[in-house]
Every structure is written in C-alpha cells, then in structure tokens.
Amino acid sequence: MNTTWKTTLFQLILGLGGVGLLGWLSGYLFPALFLGALSLVFWHLFNLYRLDRWLTRPKRSNPPDAVGIWGQTFYKIHRLQIKNRKRKRRFAQLLREFRKSTTAMPDGTIILNEQNQIEWFNRAAADLLGLVGARDTGQRIDNLIRNPKFISYLESSDFEEALELKSPFHEDIQISVQIIRYGRRDQRLLLVKDVTRLANLERTRRDFVANASHELRTPLTVIGGYLDTMAADDDFPEEWKQPVTQMQQQSRNMTAIVSGLLELSRLESLKTAAPRQVVDLGPLIDGIRSEVMAAFPGKAQIQVKLETSAKLLGHESELHSIFENLITNAVKYSEDGGLVKVRWYLDSNGARLSVSDNGIGIPSEDIPRLTERFYRVDVGRSRETGGTGLGLAITKHALGRHGGTLEIESEVGSGSTFTCHFPEDRVQKPTHRAHLRAV
C-alpha cells in the first residue's frame, strides 16, 4: 500500500470519526454519520463524472485538478495516454515509412485479405492495373482482373509459379502476377511485374529462329539436290566420291536440324492445347517400331507391351514424333543386342507410356538439362550416332501441348527409362465391352 492510499484511509477514518464525534456531542449521531457518508459518495461521484467528461472530450487536454486519490488516478491515466500517443505516433511513422518504401518499389504490390479484397496497393500496381485509390480499396481483385486464367490461379492454392497475362488496363502491357501468402489470417500479397519487354524479346527470339530456319531451308534443298545427283553419277571421279558422300550426309543432317527448329518454333507459337483426335496406340507404335528397326538394323530388340486398350485423345502426328524420338533414342544408346521395352498402361491419374532401355544410361547431373535444345551429354558420341539435338526438346513441347509431362529416370551403366504421363482427360478408357473384346 503506497502512501496516497494510506493517507486516504487515514483521512476517511479521521473525517468519519470527526463527524461521528460532532454528532455524538450534539445528540444526532446517525444523521451526522449519514450526511458525512453521503457527502463522501457525492464527492466520489463528482470526480467520476469529471473523469468521464475528460475521457470523452475529443481533443487532448489536461486532466481535471483533484486532490488525494482522485488526483493520483487522473495523473496516472494522463501519463498512460501520453505514452500511448507516443507509441501510436511511432507506429504510424514506421508504417508511413514502410508504405513509402513499398510505393517506391518498381513492381506492383497489392495486399489482399482472405476474401481477396484489396486492402492496399502501391503506385506501380495502380499504374499497371488501372486501379484508383479510394474507389478500388475493398473491391475484390477478381472483379477487376477477370481473366479466366487468373481466376483459376487465384482459386488454386498453388502459387509456386508466376502467371503471365495481358494487363486488364492496357492490352499492350504484358504482366506477370504472383501471389505470396503471409500472416495468420490467410492474407496474401499480390506482386505484379511489367514483363512487356521480356515478352517482346522472347517473341523476337522465336520469330528469329523461325525465320532463319525457314530461310536456310531453300538453299539447303538446292545443295542437297545437286549432291544427290553427283553421288548417283557413275562417271564421277573416284577421288571425289568420298567427299560427296560426306557432304551429302552432312546436308541431310542440317536439313533435319532446320526442320527440327521449325517444328519447335511451330509448337512454341501455338497457344491452344492439342486437338483431341482419338489415337489408337497399337498401330501407331507398331509403325514406329518397324521404322526404327529398319533404321538401326541389328542394334536392339524392341518389345512392345500394351497393358490397356485405352486410347489417347491428341494430335496424331505430334504423338508420333513424341514416341518416335523416345524409341529412337533408346535404340541409339543401347549396346548391340540390347533390349528396349515400350509399355503403355493406366495409373491412378491418367495413363503412361514408358520406354526403357538397358543401354549406357545418363549421369544424374545431366538429366535436368536433357530437354534443352542442342544439349549433349557426350558431344563426341552423339556426333557419331547422328541426331539433331532437338528431339527431346520437341518431345517436351509436344507433350506439354497434350497436358502431359516427361519423367526421366536413369542409372549409368544399367539403362534409362523415359515416361510420358498423360492426364486423365486425354485418355479414353476402354468401355467394359471393348475391354472384354481386347482380352
């Protein structure tokens, strides 16, 4: 108990004692005590009233003057207020600084709450998306960015990758958006970047490759044509036979590379998913099998195992090039007399086609880069076996157009397995009757 309380208690006892004594002396003990107590209650009530008035006053002001315990209470509240005000000012300052720094960021930033409503955004976001301060705060973000791709991105909970789309504000601006989750209340940060320049560069690169390949094809056809005539000419000087055959082979290689590049740029420029023709894998793979066996006689055996009669919904010639690339590679990198197994089967989320060989295998550090164009594991050997270096890149792109993915497993010395995963909606499962017939 501090001194103020002690004094208050002492004053109370003294006061009531004094009043009691006066009352006793004058013969009105209880009325006097009652009046004394009443005035005490009034005094407290009066001070409470003053406290209330003071606290409800909108502007800051000094506390009312009072003595004793009330004075101390007023003073303490006043001190607390000052402390809070200081802290609030400090936080406001911090927040202002923070917002200033995010406003200055070149990338757009939007804070979304759990209902996807916009809570705050910076200047860059306003410029990129055409948002206006007070008007759009509280608006749901998917009311303003209505692109179906964005809406499904927002609804999915997978924000690993950024999404590229046209800005809803200006169609010449290409933006990339990414959502980052934070906080306990499932708040989200939406980052918006202007990638127009990047997208243009990418397009320029694509166009360049396509145009260059196209321009190279015509001269190559002429060169190849003359070389073919020369090679077929029996009167040709003997010492030139060897060089001409080699030139002929190289020009064929170059033609293959150019066609590969053209095919790749065609696949890259297509925006739509592959069409959904019904493709029966049995005849398709049989055809590829005999082609490859004819091209590499005596290299490896190809064993085809179709475990289901399910059909694929896709683009026939693209599927042909996917499987042909995989099977050709498998045979090419097998030892003589090796065995290549092709397996077509259903799994829980679609279907798979796997091609495995017992050849030389691929070192694990090369696997992630295998589908890059012109990437070679062993430069010397691939020159020897021929090939354009584009096969797997084409495979990956064509597979992507079918919603599929490529999985590569390999062990050096014991062989590799390439597996194409096809999603469920690309697989036409056999009906019961068809299944019975197949069995």
Binding site: R135, D136, Q139, D142, I145, R146, F150, E171, T272
Partner: protein, 243 residues
C-alpha cells in the same frame, strides 16, 4: 460498394451470397472478354485451330449463365430482397443474358474465322475489323469495370461509345460493298466478313445494355430507350427523365 450499402445487412451470409453472385457475373464477363479476344485474333491470324477452340468453349459461358440464373432465383425465393438488393438481382439477371449473347456472337466470329482461314484475306487484311474489334472489346471490358465499381457516371460514358461503334460499322459496310462491286468473286468471303462486323456491332449494343443496367442498379432509374446522345452527362439525362 458505398452507393448501394450492401454492407448494411445484419445477415452476413446474405451479404456474402449477393457478393458471390456479383463476383460470378464478373468471372463470366472475364470469360466472355477472353472469347471475344481469341475470336478476333483467330480471324486476323487466320488461325483456324484457335477459332475452333472459341466455338468449343462457348458451352462454358452458357453453363455459367444457367448456374447464375439459378442462384438468382434462389435468392429471390428465399431472401425476398428489397430496394437496392432487389435491383442488384434484377440487374444481374439481365446482365448475364446480355453476356451470354455476347458469348454467342464471339462463337459466331470464331466459326467464321475458321471458315475464312482457308481463303486468302481480302485487301486491307481486316485492319478495320481489328480496329472495331479492339474498340468493342474495350467497351465490354469497361462496361464490366463499371459493374464492378458500381460507377454510374462512367457507365454513361461507356454507353455513349456505342455511337462510335455504329459509325465504324457503317463505314466498314460501305467499304465491303465497294470491295464486292470491284470483284464479285470475293462476294462469298466478304459476306462472311460482313457477318463478323455485324456480330461486333451487336456486341457493342449488348455492352451498352450492361451499362444501362449499371445506371439502373446505382440510381434506380431506367435509362433504356432514351436518347443518350442528346445529353452530355448522366445528371443531365436524369433531369430530362423527370420531365
């Protein structure tokens, strides 16, 4: 939000339902915008595959219309909305009808793009069609924005753009007629291009309708079939309505 005070309801769930259905209308709008853009792109780039995909995707727009319609009937039956809530539901029911029609027009353009892709492009390579398409696409986009922001003044401005679209359409028509007169062998494909222009013009009309529903929703005034072009601002047009 502030205009219609959707936030005043005691029942949070009801609020949520109204906001959700509004959000779904806008999602449907996004899909329709995408369809328009793809259809025009398919036409200009002679991309028959893209045109076909527009035709195939139209069912999504139709499905959304049906499900939003059902949701609105459910709200009408269970919640008995009044005042601005009622106007919101009514505006939504009307808006989705127009959006669905826009989807149909986009489908038509996609179909025509597929058919035209196999023929040589006519003289000016669809430059004017591209321009009209951009304008109309922008109009649909802005109309949906005013619906999202409940901005009646902006809706009025967007609705007025329909006049320009009509003018563009007329000038394209005149041009196409000239092309046909010069070389009657092109008539078949020019007729197809005409249908595309016609569809785009119709899309402009539907976008204008959506703007009118926004004005009705925010101000409770029906400005359909009034001559918007005679007035410079919404306030003026409304003044006129009172007389």
């Amino acid at each position: 939000m502030d205009n219609t005070d959707l936030a005043q309801h005691i029942s949070r769930q009801y609020d949520q339902e109204l906001e959700d259905v509004r959000n779904r209308v806008l999602a449907m709008g996004g899909l329709v915008e995408d369809q328009i853009q793809k259809a025009i792109e398919a036409l200009i780039n002679s991309d028959s595959e893209l045109g076909e995909s527009v035709v195939l995707e139209d069912y999504k727009v139709n499905e959304m219309e049906v499900s939003i319609d059902e949701e609105c009937s459910r709200i009408l039956a269970l919640r008995h909305p009044t005042a601005s809530d009622l106007r919101l539901v009514v505006a939504i029911i009307k808006t989705i009808t127009d959006l669905e029609r826009i989807g149909d027009e986009a489908e038509k353009i996609g179909f025509l793009a597929t058919r035209l892709a196999s023929r040589p492009q006519i003289s000016n390579r669809y430059r004017d069609i591209k321009h009209l398409g951009r304008h109309v696409g922008r109009m649909v986009h802005d109309a949906l924005n005013t619906f999202a922001r409940l901005d009646a003044d902006e809706a009025f401005n967007v609705a007025k753009q329909d006049e320009e679209v009509d003018k563009d359409y007329e000038s394209i028509m005149r041009q196409l007629i000239t092309v046909m007169m010069e070389d009657p062998r092109t008539i078949r494909q020019v007729l197809d291009v005409m249908w595309v222009a016609r569809s785009l013009e119709r899309i402009g009309d539907h976008a204008k309708n959506i703007c009118e529903y926004v004005i009705y929703l925010v101000h409770g005034k029906d400005v359909r079939h009034t001559k918007l072009r005679e007035h410079d601002s919404l306030a003026e047009a409304e003044e006129h309505l009172k007389d």
